[in-house]
């Protein structure tokens, strides 16, 4: 295909909570190519949203990116900061975790944009939709008015409290200009909102859920980003509206050539949109590859379980083949050293008590899985005895389940 735009390696994000350290994202590796749709699929608490937030530099206290690198290909940026931070630049790539945080966060809106799961709470209820989109336009306009300026590149758009106070009296000092407002209306039209002029002056509560998600997309497009991170963009929507939104995303991607990182728990959405997929479980990408690698040639029992859990619309099957057990705790001290899926895995073997590395699987050359089954077939003689994990944890279950559950909930909040 084409060149890489984003190389994430060994990314780890942790939350330091009262119950202990939560390993929300653990040593995630992935490369994303320019102009593709890369899917991240997983259940709640699998760390998929935190991965997205890490890329956007939106992880907030008590969370923190503790390790790894996120390399972003951008020639201009590389040139602008090569002198100050030579160690962070590798050819056209800039490691966003080795440069000052202002550089990373300054890319928001112009290089990276994001749309969120719940469009209703992701827009400010007391400002008009048009105004909010115009703000995003303005960020882009101000940043690109000084394309080569090092300050713009490394600091993002500046606006002081003084200017803000002045703007409450002097209209000429307002952050959002008339041109940006006009552009906002064009963007609304672009995403298929009827009567954009009138709609731009309306408030979020006057929009339907589908319309709001369109507006969010318009806002994300305002900065003409290289990479659009879509975090469960259709989860809160009905299927007919979901189809509309996916259509728009696919259409816009085709037109602008932007790269999309699509995060969802819905395998159907992945199938419809993505070129390549990573499956996340307990903070790790347990299997990744092309759509076909994951959907057809999958080796990881978790991927298999996930696929087996979805009732098929086309065909009435008998029983579903669910994964037994529950989503695991992400508390560092409860996670153990082995494969995190072993306790729910129907084919866990003795070697699974040691963490498997990324192992190449069948299919395309990008197909890897964190599972020994990619190396050799299941060996029944090596199987862990039934109830192995229950016996081992029986004594502590009572005490621990509470905290792990609360942690999972907390993580859900971040999802």
């Amino acid at each position: 295909m084409s060149e890489d735009i984003l190389r994430v390696s060994d990314l780890s994000t942790r939350f330091f909570t009262n119950e202990g350290q939560v390993n929300a994202v653990e040593s995630v590796d992935m490369t994303i190519e320019r102009g593709e749709v890369f899917g991240i699929v997983g259940e709640s608490g699998s760390g998929k949203s935190v991965t997205a937030l890490s890329i956007m530099d939106l992880v907030e206290s008590p969370g923190e990116i503790t390790d790894g690198s996120i390399e972003y290909r951008n020639e201009d940026l590389a040139d602008a900061i090569r002198d100050d931070h030579p160690h962070a630049v590798d050819g056209e790539f800039v490691d966003l975790l080795s440069v000052p945080e202002t550089v990373h966060s300054g890319l928001r809106g112009t290089s990276f944009s994001m749309i969120f799961q719940d469009p209703e709470s992701s827009l400010n209820p007391s400002l008009t939709v048009g105004e909010q989109i115009a703000e995003a336009v303005e960020v882009q306009r101000r940043a690109s008015s000084r394309p080569r300026s090092g300050r713009a590149r490394t600091q993002g758009v500046q606006y002081s409290l003084g200017s803000y106070i002045a703007s409450t009296i002097l209209p000429s000092k307002k952050f959002v200009t008339e041109e940006s407002k006009t552009r906002a209306i064009e963007l609304l039209e672009l995403v298929g909102i009827p009567d954009p002029v009138k709609r731009a002056d309306e408030y979020p509560h006057q929009y339907s859920g589908g319309m709001l998600q369109r507006a969010m997309i318009a806002q994300a497009l305002a900065g003409e980003p290289d990479v659009l991170v879509a975090d469960e963009p259709t989860t809160a929507l009905d299927v007919t509206i979901q189809a509309q939104i996916l259509d728009i995303l696919a259409d816009l991607q085709e037109r602008t050539g932007m790269t999309i990182i699509l995060i969802t728990h819905n395998l159907g959405v992945i199938a419809r949109m993505c070129d390549r997929v990573g499956v996340m479980y307990a903070g790790e990408i347990v299997e990744r590859g092309t759509l076909e690698d994951v959907f057809v040639d999958h080796v990881h029992p978790y991927t298999e379980g996930l696929l087996g859990s979805v009732p098929d619309l086309e065909d009435v099957g008998g029983r579903l083949e669910p994964i037994e057990g529950n989503v695991p705790s992400l508390l560092a001290h409860e996670m153990g050293d082995g494969c995190y899926f072993a306790d729910r895995c129907p084919r866990a073997m003795e070697e699974c008590l040691h963490k498997p590395p990324d192992i190449e699987g069948e299919g395309s050359d990008e197909h890897v899985a964190k599972c020994y089954l990619a190396e050799h077939p299941y060996d029944e003689s090596q199987a862990l005895p039934e109830g192995y994990f229950e016996d081992r944890t029986m004594g502590e279950v009572t005490a621990d389940e509470t905290s792990s559950d609360e942690t999972t909930e907390e993580m859900r909040g971040d999802d």
């Binding site: 330091f16 009262n18 206290s61 008590p62 923190e64």
Partner: protein, 333 residues
């Protein structure tokens, strides 16, 4: 290893846990002081006439002041020195300031606690029923609450005092009765009217909060589930709605204790509390001699501030720990 962000989190956690501890220590001290007042006080707080040989008030320990006295038609300036006998000095009519400070805690706490309990008894059932059943009962309550809110609570309290009168109820002091302390007042004056009055101006806040909770709980799925297998409304109210409304009510109750302590002090300051053994009344006493003998007004004020702070600290702690989303309610003072 530990980043600055994490470190500041830890510091904050310490700060946050320190304040409630401070509040707890303060409150326990004040409660002990109130309960064992006869043992702690050095003099009968109601006994007057503790003056020095010149007929002047004593200043607190370690202080002295100049006073003018008339002797034989002549005005002389004398220096009044403190005495170990009265560590916080005496007031205008020669009562021991320290003893009155100790006894003052009783009235504040009694009114605060009983006032809130009474307000809870009136407000919570009313609010729960109104919120749970909705409709006309609810409309009625909300209109009534509107009317209550239109009265400034202190003004309403003053008007009500006019109706109820100010006679305190006198109950025997168990510690004195048991003979553990001598020379102390034999009864505790409980300002019953004040308790009723503060409850009457406070209950509406409890009703509002309870109503809000019941209103949201009546549509909770577990309440619907209970209804689906035929649970009676009364059982639902007792078993589901009440227990699940308690958190914000507890927080509000704590905050309201502080509010009531301030209201009582204000009433006493204006001379409408029914007992003279109140910090507010004592401040009023001190006002006329503020320039020359400021300790008389200062000491009881510190008592009020400390007790209200201690209760507020606990309230904040509850609120943070339990996180109910309620407004603080109207505060007096």
């Amino acid at each position: 290893m530990i980043s600055d962000r994490v470190k500041s989190n830890l510091q904050y956690a310490f700060w946050e846990s320190f304040l409630p501890k401070l509040g707890m220590i303060l409150l326990v001290t004040i409660v002990l002081m109130a309960v064992f007042a006869p043992l702690i006080a050095t003099h009968d707080p109601t006994r007057t006439g503790h003056f020095n040989e010149d007929g002047a008030q004593y200043p607190p320990l370690g202080f002295e002041y100049t006073s003018e006295i008339a002797t034989g038609g002549e005005i002389v300036e004398i220096t009044v020195e403190s005495t170990n006998e009265h560590i916080l000095g005496t007031n205008k009519i020669g009562q021991d300031v320290f003893s009155r400070f100790v006894y003052g805690a009783r009235v504040s706490l009694l009114v605060g606690i009983f006032g809130v309990v009474l307000a809870l008894i009136i407000g919570v059932p009313f609010g729960l029923i109104a919120g749970y059943y909705g409709g006309h009962i609810d409309d009625g309550l909300m209109r009534m609450a509107d009317i209550m809110l239109a009265f400034p609570s202190l003004v309403l309290a003053l008007a009500l005092i006019g109706v109820f009168g100010q006679q305190p109820i006198r109950v025997p002091d168990p510690i004195v009765k048991a003979g553990l302390a001598e020379g102390m007042p034999e009864t505790i004056p409980i300002p019953g009217a004040v308790i009723i009055v503060v409850a009457l101006v406070t209950w509406v806040w409890f009703a509002r909060v309870a109503r809000g909770e019941a209103l949201s709980l009546r549509n909770a799925e577990y309440v619907k589930a209970a209804r689906s297998f035929g649970t009676s409304n009364r059982t639902i109210l007792f078993k589901h709605v009440l227990p699940n409304s308690l958190t914000p009510i507890i927080v509000l109750a704590t905050i309201q204790i502080a509010v009531i302590i301030l209201t009582e002090a204000s009433l006493a300051y204006l001379g409408f509390s029914g007992t003279t053994l109140s910090w507010g009344f004592e401040i009023k006493q001190g006002q006329s001699v503020l320039r020359t003998r400021p300790w008389v007004a200062m000491v009881p004020g510190i008592g009020i501030v400390l007790s209200v702070i201690s209760v507020n600290l606990l309230g904040d702690w509850f609120r943070d720990a339990l996180d109910p989303n309620i407004e603080g309610g109207e505060r007096g003072g």
